[in-house]
């Protein structure tokens, strides 16, 4: 099944990539409102000699770690911490690197009543507004809105065996097939693999993993990701700050498939956008 490697418990987590790729990492905690959510880690550090902001979901590996990090399922506090850190990066002109690895936002009562929906929405809007370069990488499981909240980026990279989907195969099967046992069929139908997402335009680049998956050789996986990040960052440095924000908006505007005989592909609308019929 497609999600097995993405969910492998030995798979490198955000902290592993920080360990291999970021020098002198200084973790910054807390949402400045009420709590610190260990399901999202963030902080400053040096990426190839350049100061950057890193924000990512943290799943943990042992059962104890997983419990502490709530299996990477963030609460509103986590998303608010991310928002605060994005603002910090914007103020000081630091590029933003995010790592996505979550089954989804935490569906608990306290999370809901603490404003989970708005927290996710606000995080996306905050990312959309950034003028600094933003690169997101799907490193393991990219689960729904909880994942996307950290992936409104100029470029989205994805590890070869990671998955990224609107809903878990189990959840999709339970709703559409009315039976979670149809998860394998749902996983197939949702097309959540890196190569399928590249085809749909949802990601820009696939980062190859060591044979058998990133967990067989985390250092190699991290090194390859480092190369891809450096290359992408150099590309984004060529774009003027306000232009980056506009182009990021355009990137998401183009995502989707529809037809419109009144507005053929490539024609410019009166209001500054381009028709993007992709058929």
């Amino acid at each position: 099944m497609t999600v097995e490697i993405a969910r492998h418990k030995e798979r490198p987590r955000t902290r592993d990539y920080i360990h291999y790729l970021i020098d002198g990492f200084e973790e910054l905690k807390g949402d400045r409102l009420r709590a610190d959510d260990p399901a999202i880690v963030g902080g400053l550090g040096w990426f190839r000699g350049r100061a950057v902001l890193v924000v990512g979901h943290q799943k943990g590996r042992t059962l104890d770690e997983q419990t502490v990090h709530n299996f990477g399922m963030a609460r509103p506090e986590g998303y608010r911490k991310a928002q605060r850190l994005f603002k910090l990066a914007e103020r000081h002109g630091l590029p933003v690197l995010t790592f996505v690895d979550t089954p989804g936002a935490y569906p608990g009562i306290a999370a809901e009543e603490g404003g989970q929906a708005r927290a996710i929405a606000e995080t996306m809007l905050r990312m959309a507004r950034l003028t600094v370069p933003v690169i997101a990488t799907i490193i393991g499981e990219g689960g729904s809105g909880g994942a996307l909240a950290l992936a409104v980026a100029d470029r989205v990279l994805m590890l070869e065996n990671a998955t990224y989907s609107v809903i878990t195969p189990e959840g999709c099967a339970a709703i559409l097939w009315r039976d979670a046992a149809f998860a394998p069929q749902a996983a197939e139908a949702l097309r959540p693999t890196a190569s399928q997402l590249l085809e749909l335009g949802a990601i820009e680049k696939i980062v190859a993993e060591p044979r058998g998956g990133a967990h067989h050789h985390p250092e190699t996986a991290a090194q390859r990701l480092g190369e891809a990040l450096a290359e992408t960052l150099a590309e984004l440095d060529q774009i003027a700050p306000q232009q980056r924000r506009r182009q990021r908006r355009e990137r998401f505007r183009r995502l989707g498939r529809w037809s419109d005989p009144e507005q053929p592909p490539g024609s410019m609308s009166l209001f500054g956008g381009y028709s993007t019929t992709l058929e």
Binding site: P107, E122, R129, S165, V166
Partner: protein
């Protein structure tokens, strides 16, 4: 149904009511419920209504001009579960008479011209796919470009799973649309109606300048069933209701359906730097106002629709007939 009871009723009891409230079970005549804006005359339970009925209730009579009717849904993933996606779409179209889960256009609300986007829960659970995202984007773009407010009536079960990752991307796309409208400082008012959950409530719906809901509407990111199954926590009384959300600080107000037009109109005037309306004695109710303001609004909405149509046919090519052309008539709800 108890057969004896049924016979008894037919023979002696009062006639079986035409309509029974799903909440308080009191009966009423269909007409009575319709005249009450599809709200129970006894307990004020707000029934779900479709996009056409919503537009009829919310906008000033005859001012709505639908836009982007030709934007059509595709099946990018060739998705099939128990039924294929095109089959499900066909059924939804037949059931609602709509082409998608959103209807967009220009209108005037209580005398203020605006861009209006109305979702319809009846169309595949109001799920947000590429077309919903694109029409919302165009609405925001039109509002930003024309310095008009945007009003969105949101009702949705979440993302359109049949479009896979592309449906998830609509959350980001519509959030980017809010960035566009914020940058242009056009006011944005969202009305959340039952039910409003999943990707819609976690994107543009809760990013509005003013965010209100109808009484009793269910508003949550994860549905109550998912929460109960995943966390095994007991749900508190009234979980996810508009009223509870208001107390938790997630809404600006809970507004009864009969007050929506006036309240939304007021937000638009307050945020848009408009003038305080004359509500002195003897002035007509907002719905029937035919003063200069309403007239100007109507003109504006007409020009706007013509303008948008022209831009869709071919860039800024002039079409001399477009402004005079009679506006497309809103089909009866």
């Amino acid at each position: 149904m108890n057969v004896t009871l049924e016979i008894e009723r037919r023979d002696n009891g009062p006639a079986k009511p035409e309509w029974a409230c799903p909440s308080c079970h009191e009966g009423a005549r269909n007409r009575e419920v319709r005249d009450n804006l599809m709200v129970c005359p006894h307990c004020s339970h707000h029934l779900r209504i479709g996009a056409r009925e919503r537009i009829r209730q919310l906008t000033d009579e005859g001012t709505f001009r639908e836009l982007w009717t030709m934007v059509a849904t595709l099946d990018p993933l060739d998705f099939t579960d128990i039924e294929s996606y095109p089959e499900r779409l066909r059924a939804a179209k037949a059931k609602t008479g709509l082409s998608e889960a959103i209807v967009t256009g220009a209108a005037s609300i209580d005398g203020t011209p605006c861009v209006l986007a109305v979702m319809d829960f009846g169309f595949m659970g109001g799920s947000m796919g590429s077309v919903v995202g694109e029409k919302l984007w165009r609405s925001a773009e039109l509002a930003a470009g024309e310095d008009l407010p945007l009003v969105a009536v949101c009702s949705s079960g979440g993302a359109r799973m049949q479009e896979g990752i592309l449906s998830l991307m609509q959350m980001a796309k519509t959030s980017c649309a809010v960035d566009l409208i914020n940058e242009a400082t056009s006011p944005f008012v969202a009305v959340l109606v039952d039910p409003c959950t999943g990707g819609v409530v976690a994107s543009f719906a809760t990013l509005a300048d003013v965010c209100i809901a109808e009484p009793g509407a269910l508003l949550s990111f994860s549905g109550p069933r998912v929460i109960a199954e995943t966390t095994r926590e007991a749900l508190p009384e009234g979980f996810g209701s508009a009223e509870r959300n208001l107390n938790l600080g997630h809404l600006d107000a809970v507004v009864a359906r009969k007050d929506l037009r006036e309240r939304v109109g007021n937000y638009l005037r307050l945020l848009g730097g408009g003038e305080e309306p004359d509500r002195g004695e003897g002035s007509e109710a907002p719905a029937g106002r035919t003063g200069r303001l309403a007239q100007a609004t109507l003109e504006r909405a007409r020009t706007l629709a013509a303008h948008a149509r022209r831009s869709l046919v071919g860039g800024d090519r002039q079409d001399p007939g477009a402004a005079e052309e009679p506006p497309a008539r809103e089909p009866a709800p």
